[in-house]
Assembly symmetry: C2
Homo-oligomer: 351 residues x 2
C-alpha cells in the first residue's frame, strides 16, 4: 500500500480556456463587456494597505447590508461567498441531506452533478423538453431538493415566474434553489416569491451583470431560517472566506444602481441586434434571456464554426454531449466585438 491508494479519485479536469491575447474577441465565458461601476475603481485606490494585515470581517457586514437594502430584505436573509460556486456548494452541503434524489435539468450547469457527487447526495437529471424547456410538472415527484438556473445555461431560456412558483410550491418539504446568475439580463427574479415560501433560496452573482467575475462574489437570499442554517455550516468549518477587497469593491458595485441598469440595458440592446443578425446568417436559437445566445446553424456544424472562429482569435464556447453538440454558446460582447463576429461569419458562411 502507499499513500496514493488513499487519494480521492476524480475525473482529471482541465480548466476552461482563458485565452489572454492583446487582439482577441472573448465571447466564451459570459463575462460582461463593460467595466464595473466607477465607484469600484475609486474604492480600489482607497483601500489602505495597512488594513490588509488584519483578518476581514467574517460576516462581511458592509456587503451584506448593502445587498439587503438593494433587495429589500433583512440582512439576516443574505449569505455571501466566494463566487456563486462557493455559495451553491455551501447550499448543497447544508440542505441536501435527504435519501431522496436531488432533481435538476439534464442540460444545465455542469457543477450541480459535481457537488452532488462530492457530498454524496443522490440525484436525478430531469430531461428538458424537445424545445429545451423546463416543465414544472416533471419536478412534481418525490425529491430531496430541486435546483435549476433561470435563465437556464447554456440555453439562455427563461422560465416565467409563474412556472418557477409552480416548482417551489410543488415541493414545500424540499429546498428549491433558483440559480439566477443571469436573471438581470431579462427575467423576473424569484425574490418576489420569498415572502410566500420559506423553502426557496435564490442565488445570484457579481460575475455577470455587475462585471466582477475577477473578484469572485456571489450571494444567496432566502428565509432567515435557511440563511441561519447556511451560516452555521459555513462558520463551522471556514470563518474567513471573503477577503477585504471583495467586501469593499462588492459594496461599491451594489451602491451604483444607475450604472447597473445602464450596463444591462446596453447588453440587452446588443443582444437584440445580435439575435436579428444571427437569424439572418442562418442560425436557430431559443429566445435568449441571458447575456449569451445558444445558437445552432442550419447547415454548418458547430464544431467546424468553433474552430474557424478560434483561428481568427474569436472565442466562443462549444459543448460536447447529446442534443447540445451542434450549438455554440456566444456571449454578448460590445457592439464592436459582435460586428467583427458577424463580419467573419458572413464571409465564412457566404451569406
Amino acid at each position: 500500500m502507499s499513500w496514493e491508494d488513499y487519494v480521492r479519485r476524480v475525473e482529471p479536469y482541465v480548466p476552461g480556456e482563458q485565452p489572454n491575447k492583446a487582439r482577441m474577441i472573448k465571447l466564451n465565458t459570459n463575462e460582461n463587456p463593460y467595466p464595473p461601476a466607477p465607484g469600484v475603481a475609486a474604492a480600489l485606490k482607497g483601500i489602505q494597505d495597512e488594513t490588509l494585515r488584519l483578518y476581514p470581517d467574517p460576516t462581511a457586514k458592509k456587503l451584506v447590508d448593502a445587498l439587503a437594502e438593494r433587495y429589500q430584505v433583512s440582512p439576516s436573509q443574505v449569505f455571501v461567498g466566494v463566487g456563486s460556486d462557493d455559495v451553491l456548494a455551501m447550499a448543497f452541503l447544508t440542505f441536501f441531506q435527504s435519501e431522496k434524489p436531488l432533481l435538476f435539468p439534464d442540460i444545465s450547469y455542469s457543477f450541480y452533478k459535481v457537488w452532488a457527487e462530492l457530498y454524496r447526495i443522490p440525484y436525478e437529471c430531469v430531461p428538458l423538453d424537445e424545445n429545451f424547456r423546463i416543465r414544472p410538472e416533471d419536478y412534481r415527484r418525490e425529491n430531496g431538493g430541486i435546483i435549476f438556473p433561470n435563465p437556464n445555461a447554456p440555453t439562455s431560456l427563461l422560465l416565467p415566474l409563474d412556472e418557477v412558483e409552480k416548482i417551489v410550491a410543488g415541493s414545500p418539504d424540499s429546498v428549491v434553489i433558483v440559480d439566477e446568475a443571469y436573471i438581470d439580463f431579462g427575467g423576473e427574479s424569484a425574490l418576489s416569491l420569498l415572502p410566500k415560501y420559506d423553502n426557496l433560496l435564490v442565488v445570484q452573482t457579481f460575475s455577470k451583470s455587475r462585471s466582477m467575475a475577477g473578484m469572485r462574489i456571489g450571494y444567496a437570499i432566502g428565509s432567515e431560517k435557511m440563511i441561519k442554517a447556511m451560516m452555521d455550516v459555513k462558520y463551522s468549518f471556514n470563518s474567513y472566506t471573503m477577503n477585504r477587497t471583495s467586501i469593499e469593491l462588492g459594496y461599491e458595485a451594489v451602491k451604483d444602481e444607475a450604472y447597473f441598469q445602464e450596463t444591462i440595458a446596453k447588453v440587452k440592446a446588443t443582444r437584440e441586434r445580435a439575435a436579428k443578425r444571427l437569424a439572418e446568417l442562418g442560425f436557430h436559437f431559443p429566445e435568449p434571456s441571458a447575456n449569451f445566445i445558444f445558437a445552432e446553424h442550419e447547415s454548418v456544424p458547430a464544431a467546424e464554426l468553433f474552430q474557424a472562429l478560434r483561428e481568427k482569435d474569436i472565442y466562443v464556447r462549444h459543448f460536447n454531449g447529446a442534443r447540445v453538440e451542434n450549438f455554440l454558446r456566444i456571449t454578448i460582447g460590445t457592439d464592436e466585438e459582435m460586428e467583427e463576429l458577424f463580419a467573419f461569419l458572413k464571409e465564412y458562411l457566404r451569406k
Copy 2:
C-alpha cells in the same frame, strides 16, 4: 416532514471576536502588527478596474511562479488557495480517504477535527506530553494520515526538524501534513525534507509573516504527484477561487524578501523582550517560536486576567478545555502595544 429535517446538523458556532475600536490593543488573532510589503500598496493602486470584469487566472500562475522561485521548487509543486484553511480543507478531502484514523495532537488547531467530521474521515487525537510536546514515537502506529502545526498552536512550541522527519519517515504510506503557519517566526521549515519524502505536504500562509490576513492567501508545497492530486480535486468542483487582487497583491508580497526578513526580525525581537517581561510578571510559558506566547500566571486565573484586560480594550485569546483553560494566548504586537500590556499587568498584578 419538512425541508428542515434535511438540513445538515452542526454545532452552531459564533465567529471569533473581531473587535474594531479606534483605541484598542488587538493581540487576540495572531495578526502581524506591521503592514504588508510596500509593493503591495503600489500594486493595489495599479490594478486596472476594467480587468475585474474578467475571470481570474484559475491557475494563479503569477503567484504560483513567484512562490516556486522563492522556495526553490517547481511550480508544479505549489498549490494556492483562499487562506491556509482552504488549502488544508482541500488536502483533507484529497488525501485522507483511508479507513484508518487520521492522527493529530489533542491540543492543536481546532479546525482539524471539523474538517475530519465534515469529510467523514476517522480520526484520533494524540495527547501532547506533560510539557505540551509532540512525541514522534506516538505517531508511529497504523494511521490514514498525520497532521500537526509546527510551531504548534496555541502552544507556540517548535518541534525540531529531526523530530519532524521521524514522523514523516515513520509513516511512508500516509500523507503527513506539516502546518507551518508560524514557521517563519523561528523554526526550520520541513520544506528541506521534500526531496527525500514524497508523502510530505508543507502548508504555509500569508496571514502571519506576510501581514496579509485580510487577503486570504495560503499555499501548500509537496511532491508533484501530491500537488497534481490536489489540483484534480480542486478543479473538479471549483475552478475559480483566488480573485484577481489576491493574485496580484500576493505576488508583490513574495517578491520583497528584504521587507519580509525585516518584519520577522522585529517581531522576534519584541517576542524576546515580551518573554522576559512576562516571566518577571510571574507568567510561565513554553518557549515561544511563533508570533504569540502561550502563558499561564503563577497565581491569577487566566479567565480573570482575560476579563480584566478586555475591560481596558486589550484583547488576548482565552480557550476553554482541559489543560489549556488557565493559559492566555498573547499575540506579539508592536513594542508600544506590548508596553501598554505590561504596564497594565504590572499594576493589576501589583508586581
